[in-house]
Each structure stands twice: as structure tokens, then as C-alpha cells.
Subunit: 400 residues, 4 copies
Amino acid sequence: MAPVGSKRGVLERLDAGEVVIGDGGFVFALEKRGYVKAGPWTPEAAAEHPEAVRQLHREFLRAGSNVMQTFTFYASDDKLENRGNKLTFTGQQINEAACDLAREVANEGDALVAGGVSQTPSYLSCKSEDEVKKIFKKQLDVFIKKNVDFLIAEYFEHVEEAEWAVQVLKATGKPVAATLCIGPEGDMHGVTPGECAVRLVKAGADIVGVNCHFDPMTCVKTVAMMKAGVEKAGLKAHYMTQPLAYHTPDCSCQGFIDLPEFPFALEPRILTRWEMQQYAREAYKAGIRYIGGCCGFEPYHIRAVAEELATERGTLPEASQKHGMWGSGLEMHTKPWVRARARRDYWEKLKPASGRPLCPSMSSPDGWGVTKGHAELMQQKEATTAEQLRPLFEKADAKH
Amino acid sequence: MAPVGSKRGVLERLDAGEVVIGDGGFVFALEKRGYVKAGPWTPEAAAEHPEAVRQLHREFLRAGSNVMQTFTFYASDDKLENRGNKLTFTGQQINEAACDLAREVANEGDALVAGGVSQTPSYLSCKSEDEVKKIFKKQLDVFIKKNVDFLIAEYFEHVEEAEWAVQVLKATGKPVAATLCIGPEGDMHGVTPGECAVRLVKAGADIVGVNCHFDPMTCVKTVAMMKAGVEKAGLKAHYMTQPLAYHTPDCSCQGFIDLPEFPFALEPRILTRWEMQQYAREAYKAGIRYIGGCCGFEPYHIRAVAEELATERGTLPEASQKHGMWGSGLEMHTKPWVRARARRDYWEKLKPASGRPLCPSMSSPDGWGVTKGHAELMQQKEATTAEQLRPLFEKADAKH
Amino acid sequence: MAPVGSKRGVLERLDAGEVVIGDGGFVFALEKRGYVKAGPWTPEAAAEHPEAVRQLHREFLRAGSNVMQTFTFYASDDKLENRGNKLTFTGQQINEAACDLAREVANEGDALVAGGVSQTPSYLSCKSEDEVKKIFKKQLDVFIKKNVDFLIAEYFEHVEEAEWAVQVLKATGKPVAATLCIGPEGDMHGVTPGECAVRLVKAGADIVGVNCHFDPMTCVKTVAMMKAGVEKAGLKAHYMTQPLAYHTPDCSCQGFIDLPEFPFALEPRILTRWEMQQYAREAYKAGIRYIGGCCGFEPYHIRAVAEELATERGTLPEASQKHGMWGSGLEMHTKPWVRARARRDYWEKLKPASGRPLCPSMSSPDGWGVTKGHAELMQQKEATTAEQLRPLFEKADAKH
Amino acid sequence: MAPVGSKRGVLERLDAGEVVIGDGGFVFALEKRGYVKAGPWTPEAAAEHPEAVRQLHREFLRAGSNVMQTFTFYASDDKLENRGNKLTFTGQQINEAACDLAREVANEGDALVAGGVSQTPSYLSCKSEDEVKKIFKKQLDVFIKKNVDFLIAEYFEHVEEAEWAVQVLKATGKPVAATLCIGPEGDMHGVTPGECAVRLVKAGADIVGVNCHFDPMTCVKTVAMMKAGVEKAGLKAHYMTQPLAYHTPDCSCQGFIDLPEFPFALEPRILTRWEMQQYAREAYKAGIRYIGGCCGFEPYHIRAVAEELATERGTLPEASQKHGMWGSGLEMHTKPWVRARARRDYWEKLKPASGRPLCPSMSSPDGWGVTKGHAELMQQKEATTAEQLRPLFEKADAKH
């Protein structure tokens, strides 16, 4: 095992043209395992149930991840206490515990630690640039103290807030990646992917791209637009995708949040491992070299990315010891018609059925057409009251 | 924490009319986490990666499971070495490690340990009753040494083999549960569910039912047929279901094995938590009191069963601290149109889209129409060769 | 053109093992053309717009039909005046006009004229056998006066009423065919298809089978059950299917009436011509020799039946001059990728998309579980009032 | 009945803000009735089977059409003889017969006669402007001789050819409508809908819009783009849509021709009458006043347009005597649960199932990416040979 600090950094790897495999989204994976609450989506499990977080890190490491992202999503103080959420740990405790877990598991293999910040309720509630930057700074202090290897500003719906985050992170001298949660239509104020990317690079990001909100192919398409924008502007950057593991052909600009199925009925949209291999290939072809995942990704999805790019990376992940490429493990199945599926062309061509004949294949996304600046988006520390919910229920019912 | 042995046994609970919640299927859950190989589906992880198995036990315990099944599925020596599978642990080591892990976690809460045996390649290959019973006996010796609380004979396609297993298990004096992997059409030789159940009860099973192969509602329907058969015969038993977490409306008698999507493209069929609550309710209404899951179940699925039956059980599981009933956690979401989904009627009525407009909603199952006794079903220790695979590929292609 | 009366009769043909091709359902086809009102579904167009009825007869004749059924569906006096329906023609005028049109077009080709009676509101309203038989007798008087070639009792949900009809028709000495609108579950009182068929044969039917209510493959399956029943009883008969041109995999015993889409949103269920060829082949294989259609059939559907059985019949229909077998007409298309579809295997394998990603593939049929004898099914001459509709709307809404 | 010539002209009506309802597509409707051959799609039925064409005109008239389009689609000499098509009538005979039939039925009601020309194989085969214009001129001579009320240049994939047609038609002094078969992506050479419309207006068209190739909502969207273009250019025109009656969400720029289901498996895509009412409303809202249909339209679809706009037009069509608005005819149905569907909100909300659980909801369109100028698109008088078909089959198979 390499001693801490002796590993090649993220930019060193990307500059050399290597593939860096990210991990998957922890909030969704740990929600299914019983450690994260859907709604607030806060990462107190890092302090509360470290064994669960450590195990998930380990599974992604085994699956081929080169990055252990600290489980600090939404771990800013204003988000931890939003709308009645109550925690027994402080933001600092959570952030520190998350750093320690990421480092512990990173040291078990060839992985770096990335400290992550994400969008804040404060920005949505129209707080000032100073106030918002102070929030990022607070998380950052922990990352520096814990000496993470690089930093990620991720899950921003508005490029302006992401620029602020990048500016704060950049001041540390560590490499900075920045990913928006946008699709081809651009950010919530209509800034195109190309322009968003240019602004992020100018703000100091070394790596730009998208994460969350859209399915893999849509994210690859969006990053390709970012890349075209950066190149057209005569700038340079590395590119990154960390998409959903859910098919989202029916999403509009706000992504899967707007789907009626979000967040408790997304199951039928989960990608298969074979669809993930196709994603890895397309991302690679598009010139993207930091390839990871977000909500919905399980370890086997990351393993599929690593298996697709095994030749390019020169290695298979440890977890592939428990996986036959393209279904070859089925050669050991007891039933002959299942052994007949032990081949690539079978799985590549298969169009999997939903088993849900009473359900449609696409949904009409909710679209309230509001974003930062609209009264309905102001956040509050107090729990949402029944009086506040009633008009929301009525508005929603009137739309359907 | 109750000292070992001080807990009320499974029959004590069922006799008192209580609900016993099972766990989910470990081979599928651990395959997604990178510790089990699809194809052989063997449980060497119990010895190889105990931390991963322990964590999964813990998640089910937190989710409400009252039973920790030893991770000994297919852990008979003839299966561990079938068709070229090679392991660095003996069957005995795996079975012992699995017992220790189940006991360790069971002791952390209100759960019993159940030792499980399942169908053997030897039966499929037409070995004698004596030979098959010897295999069960070997696993059983470990269960007795480790003093499990009760025994489960599960995943049998032929009632005859299940009877043999029950007879072996019954001799120990411990309570015995027996579940076939059949649907309403009955076992692979056409024995009806009602008759199967009668035969299992007569062989000595205290609890009878089904596991795996079919979706929850189909399993409830099948167990209802079993119950009717047992009652008509003037016998008594307790009833149990441990279904798939996959929708299988298109399956024929062999269940999801025959679906073209098995086992690598079943994602669109995964049940939501709300569909699981409906399953728990229907199972309860049908008089089934041992309610668990099998392949595809994740901890949140078991939690949904526990939440649906919270009133009947008088308690909510620990993991419900991270879950608002019927989506109420969404009251804390930042977006108002997502807060508008924080209610039961929204999730109960939703027909989730697949996000897969190029895919059908049902498949035509493979149906080679062979079972025990047919040459194509003879098993072998050696790896399947390319020469053996070729005719299988051709036969499969000719069917599509 | 053969002179009237010189043609070989329907039994002569069937006894010789020949295929007799029926026509399609006139009420649905003429509803789309603007001449029949959905709801009452009465055939006054025969008198009101003879040119439209004549043209439809002609199209079916060109498509290969050997039978022109008089357009007398629901032309019994009690149905013509049911629930506020008002007509400017008497039942006798309509029945006579229908006979004349059928005869006129039959004389233009190799077709026979069949006079048809169908189930009555009187039976549903629990009138006596005498009263119901009087209604059939009244229509029959016209058929005898107009000297139709044979008689059909069709669209009966209750075998008892069909027996009464057959008894009345049989008294004329003309050949009698009888088709129920039932599926594999049997008639509305649960009499199995096999038993229904035996009762119809004993009542005097020469030809038995099913029409309407279910899709072609379900109808073939049902008639196969009828045939098995008749043969088991040591009786003899000829067999007949006139199914819907709609896919109905989701129907329960009452058929497509119960589908939420009935009758104004059935479009996505319409069978293609290739699916019709498959139907014709399966019907033929099942030993059915009178093969026609019902609601949803357009002339090209009947042509597809005739084309599939061209070898067996030794002839192609006239309308095939305007149709290349298996898409060969596309060889003349201007676009090369459309010419590439000019072949059988292309169309046989195609799984046509619905173009409706927001719609499911199956529906939950309405099932009020009532039939003859239930108060809700009593008929009335007066229009349904708003007061009568309100509870129906509420009951329906409560079910969804 | 108004004497010929006494009717108000099409521009008079549109200038007054009135709605003009078009008819439906004759080639598809008559193909299903057995009078047109799919592939060549030529209109010889006008001369060969005038009774069938007359009847279809009459049905559209009864349904509310204000325009009887002469059945002269593809009736140019170069198309009539393309790729081995053989006819027993000359182009002139067909065109004359079509004019007579349209006039005969137009005189039975409030309808005008429109003479129509469409795109030519000659243009696709790169013939000169003069040669192409000569073809239009030849059809036009008949229209003038027969004194049609106005002219339509329809079904053009390339705006250049449509301009040529408009120039020829305009010279007659009669009102000219011009519709391209394009979608929002513009014509086959990428000219945007806005620019296409401007060019057509400048060429002399009084009415511009689209017909065929896309579903109603897509066509409305495209015409809205045309309208915006015309208005931005400071020009004036009237607007027109005659879309498919098929849902085409999956089409690319060439429209439904590219769908794998074209032309023999489009059934599941057929619009319901309620979807047609929605189309009529949206078209009206978009400022379109000439509202008709194309392939797939049956008389009941046009009636739905007329019913939706009954208030605006001040009249209901004759065929509405056989149709209760919004399903009210079902009040007369014998079954109470069908009477429960006699209301608008039921039909407006219904998402009709396809009844096809093995079929997807969308297709991947063929896309060979060729248009005028590409060798594969050269036309020929001789039949396509087997040698010519083989490479097409192979190319198609390689794409799937």
C-alpha cells in the first residue's frame, strides 16, 4: 500500500491522459441501506454510522474508483438545519468524520481523497456573495486541516454560485473540479453549457463537467457541449461526468427532481451494467477522462465503467474477481438456457422489459417554472407546516 | 440486549399470532456490492469478506428483520464446485463463518438465527435420496454445532427434494420452515401448491410457503393456495413468503430464471417501497405471518414491510428514523413541488414510468420445457466448454 | 356472375373442408365513417344511408369475404328503442333494407347472405323465454321473406339466450351458426366454452364459435376449447371465429366492454395486417374453417386473412391487386430504406411501437361484477336521466 | 344546395377569420379499403373505382370538410410509372375523373374543390426546373379545364421544389395554398420552417403550412414557426395544417417515412377522436384557420375537428347526428359501467393502453441521411430488381 501523499495527483493523472474513475452517489445508496433520510438528504451518517459509510467507500474502491469523495454533500450548516431537520452532530463533526473515513479507505488502494462542497439553501434564498462564500469556507477549513488531495464543487444549478465556490476553493492551491447539475438546456437561468464551462474555467476550475440530475448519455452530451465551449474560447480544461444511474429521457431543465417519480419510485429507471458500459465508452469517446457516477449508482455500476475501460486503464478492479465479463459467469449456471446468455451480443441487444404493463414509459415532469429569486424557493430553518403544505398539494393536483 | 437463548423462538412468536419479518436475499444484494459472482451464486463471501456480509445483516436488522438467515445459500459441496467454480474456502469454513456472522448481528437486536439449506445439483442430476440427504446432513452438522435457532429448507423447485430436506432437518428437533420456489402452477413436475404444502407439512415442516422466483403478489397468491390445501387436508401450519423484489407478470412456471433479463437486466422490474407496503398488507390479509424477501430486496424494502405492519407489530424499525412514513421526509425538501409529494395518496396512486421508451413492458420467457431427468440438466464439476456452449447459443437464437 | 341460388351453401363448403371467410363488424366500421351512433349501436343506416352500407359490403367482398351478413345487429324492436334512442325507420324497414343490400352485393361475387340476430335487452331485463323468442321470430320473418342463405345467432353473453335463438332459427330449416361473445372463462354465468358449445349444438347449431369481445388469439383459444368440448361429447359441428381487431390481453370475462378505452380510445390496440395473417393461420391450424371478424375489422384485415389462406383457398381476393404480399409493394417506393422493408421477415418480426410514451401497455378493466338478473342491468325505453347517471359516475370514480 | 360558383371562396372565408376544415388523406384511407396500393400510392382509383372515391368524399363532407381535394396525389406521369408501376389509365384520365368526383360531392354541401399537386420523382432525380415545372403544368391544365376553386401544392420535402410548384400554380390567378411535409427541423436541406414559409409566400402562396409526415401537435408547432417567420419578415399569409393521424414523437426530420412501422404497422399510433379535438383547439389557438388532415385520418377524425370548433364555426357537421359530444351517446348503452363513461372529463384524462405489452412505446427511426442529390435516391421507370434490393436489405439489417 502506497504511503499517504505518495500517490500521483488527479491532475497528474489527467494530464497524462489517464482515466480517473469516480465513485457513486452516497446519499441515495445509503438511503436504501437505511442511513440517510430522503428529503433533507444530509450526511450525518459519517459521524453516526461510520461502519456503513466505510463499507460503501470500500465497495466503490473494490469496484474501481480512484476517488473517495468525502461524504459531505449538503453538509453546510444552513442545509443541515433547513426546514426542521435536527441533528445530534455539528457540521464540523460530520465534515471531519467524513474526511477520516475517505482517507482510511483511500489508503487501502489506489484512490485519492476529494473534499466536496455543493449548492446552498442560502444562495437559493438570495443571500449575498459574501454570506454564501463564508459557508463554503467553513467546510473548506476542515478539508484543509484533513489535507484532502483535491476539491470538488458539485451539484450547482446556477453557474454563478458555482463560480463563487470555485473561487473559494481555488484559493487553497489544491486542484479544483467543478460540476453543475445541468443538462443541454443549461443552468436554471438559461446560461448554456458552453458558457457555463468557460465561466468555471475562468473562475479557476481545472476540471469541469456535470453531475447528477440527468442520465449518463444526456450528461455526456452536455459535457461535450461544455468542451466545445471551452475550446472555442481558446481555454483548456479536463472534463468530468458523474451522472445519475436513472434513465431520464423525459426530463426538462431541472432534471430528475421534476419527475413525478422523484425520489421514491425511480426504480424502473435504473440502468443495467451493460448500459453503464455503453456510457463509459461514449464518455471516453467524447474526450471525458474523469468518469464517475451520482445518485442511483451502486458499486456494480462503477465496476461496469472500470470493466469497459479495462484496456485503456490497463487493469481490472478487484471486484471483477466476482464478475464474468459480459455475462461469462453464467457459464457456471445450472440451467442450460441461462448458460445460453453467457455472451456479449445477448446482453448488448437486450431491451429489458419493465414488468409493469400498467405503467407508462415516460412521465410529464412537474414544471413550476421557478428558480432562485422566486418566493416559493425561499428556505427556512423551521419545519414546513401543514398550512404551508396545503397550497402546494393543491397546486400539484391542479397540474395533473 | 437480550442474552443468547433468552429470545422467544420463531414458533412461539407465530403461535402467538405475531408477525415475523424475514430478511432479503443476500446473493443478489452482495453481487451488486461486488462480493458474489452471478452464475455460481455461491456464498464464499461469508469467509472471504465477512465485513461486507456483517454490514448487510446489520442493515436488514436495522430495517426490521427478526431473522438473520445464515449466508449459506448453495453452500453444499456439490454446488460449490459445480461447472468449474473454484474456491479457496471449504464448504465447512463457509457454513461456519456464516453462522458466526448471523449470530453476531442477531445478538445486536431482536433477531433469531436461521440455518438454511437449498436445492442441490445432485438432485437435478438424478442422484439417489441417500446421496442428496447426505449433502443436507453435512450442512446441518454445522448448524447444530453453531446452535442456530431454527432451520429453513428453501428454494426448492421440486417438492420431492424439499421433503427429503425437511425430513433431514426435522430430525434435529429444531423448528423447520420449508419454502419452494414455485408459483400458482406448482412445482416443476406439476404438483399443485396445495398438494406441495400438504406434503411438506406431512414431512415435518412447521412453516410452509414460497421464496424467490416470483413477484410478491404472485407469491402471496401461491401461499394462499398452499394454505387452502393444508386446511382442506385438516392439517395445521404457519405460512411464509420471501418473494423477489422484481415484477414478474410475464413468468411461466420456472419463474424469473426464464426471463430474458435474468440476471443482469432486471433493474426496471425492481419494486418501489410503496409496492412493498402493499405486498406486506396483502400477505398479512392472506394470513401469512412470516413475511420476508429474496433476490432484489434491499434493506429499504424490508423497512417498508416493517413500516406497513408497524401497528400490528407495535414498533417501528430503527432505520425508520431515517425515513418519513409515506414520503413525509420530503417536507424538508428545498423545492416546493417536491414538498408537494409529501403524502400518502401521491405515492399510492403513482404509476412509475420506466424511462425506457424503446423497451417493452413484458418479455417472452425462455421455455425449454425441461426439468429434472432431462439430459440437458445434468450437472458437472468441470467448466462448461465452448463446445458445450455453442449448441445452447444456437438453440436460444432459434427461439427468438 | 352466378345466378342467385346457384351458389354452394355454407355447409356444403364447410363439409368439403373449404375455408369460408366472414366479413368485419359493421357497427364499428360505419361509426368511424359517420353513419352509426356509438352507444345505441343500431343499424338504421341500412335504410337511411344505403350507399354507405353497400360500399362497405363491397369492400369486404373485394377483400375476400364469402359471407355478406345482413346489417341487422341490434335491429330488434326492443333494442332500437332502448334508453331514449329515436329512429325514423321501423325495425322491419331496417331489416328489409339490410337484406336487400347484402343480397345485391353478394350477387356481385362468390358470397352468401347470412341473416343475423343478436342478444336482446329483453333477456337482460329478465323477460320470459316466450317474449325473447318472439323478438327473434320477428327478425326471422324478414330473413325468410328475403330468402337469406343461412342464419347466424351472434353476440350472446349468456348461452341460455343463444340456445333460445338457435331453437327459433333452426325451425326454418336453414343452416344455423351460433357465436357467443365469450372468452376462455366462459359465459356470464360461468358456463365453460366446452359446455356452451355442446348446448348450442344440441339446440341445433351447425356451426359454433365466438365473435366480438376478445382479440383473435383469445378467440381461437376459446373456440379450441369449444371444439374439445363438442368432440368429448361425441357430437359434431363446424367451428367459427369472428374476433375483434383489437388486442385485449387485459380483459376479464366480459371482454373489451370493460376496458376503460371502450369504445372511443381503442385505436392503439388495432391489429396490423401481419397480426391478422397470424390469426388466420392459427385459426386454420386449430381446425376452424369459418374465419371472419367483428368490431375493429376494416377491409384490409379481411384481405390479410384471405392472403394468408390463399393456398388453402386456391385464390387471392380482388383487393389483393392493390396489395403486394408481405410488403412487396414497397419495392416501388421512392426511398431506398423503405424499399428495404419489402420482405416478409421484416414485418413478421417487427414489434410496432405505440408512439404513446405517456400511456401504459395494459389497462385495468372495469369490473362491476354484475350480469343478467342484477338491478343495474334492467333496461328502459326512456333516456337515461342525469339523476340516473350521477351514481354511475360516482361508482366509476370510486373504482379508479 | 348552392349552385356552382356561388360559394364563397377559400380566401374570402379565411380573410373573414372563418375556420376552413380540410379533409383527410385519401391514399391511406383507400389503401385500407382495398383501392390503393401501398408502395406506389397512386390514385388510379379515381378512374377505376369511382364509387369508392365518391363515398370517401361524401364521408368527409358529412364529417364537416369544407374542401374536397381532388384525389390526384402522385398523379404526375413520372410518378405513375415509377419503378414498375403499371396502370390502365392515363394521368389525364385519372386527374379528370378525380376533378369530377370532387365537384360532384362538393356540390352536395358547403365545400370547395381544390386541385392538388405534390412532389415529383423528377425533382428527386435531379431533373431541371423546366422539366419539373412542366410536370406540374400538365396536371394544372386539367384543373383549369375542370375549373377547380383553388389549388394546393402539398407534400414537398424540399422548399425549392415547392416554390417551383407555387410559381406554376400562381400563374393561373387562382388562390394557392402550399404545404411542406416538414417538421420543426425544417426541410431536407435544413432550411428552417420560418424561412421556408417566407420563400413560399414570396413565390406567391396565399396560404402556407405543413401536411403529412408528423403528428398533429408537431405540425401545429411547425406552422407556428412558419407564422413567426412570415410575420418577422413583414409579410402576410394564411396558415394551414394537414397532419398525420399518427403519433410520431420518435421521428427525425424525414418524419414517419423513417419509422420502422411505416407503412404497415402504424396502427398503435392512430389518434383518438379526443386527441383530435385537442389538435383542433391548439391549431386554432396558434392562429391556424385551415385545419385538416392527411394520412391516417378517417372521417370521424375530421368530425372531431368540426365538433371541437363548433362554436367558432356556428355549426355542427351532419355526421354529428350520429355522435354524442364527448361520449354522451353512451348514455344509451346497456351496461351501467359504460354509461359511466358518458362525460368529457373521463375521455380527456384517459391515457389509452396499447394492449401490446411486448411492444415498445417508441422506435428508432431509420436514418440513412440521404436526400435529393444522393445516388440512392435516383428514381427509375423499371421495377426494382432483386439485385437492387439485396444491398438495401443488408444495409437495413446492419443498422438494427
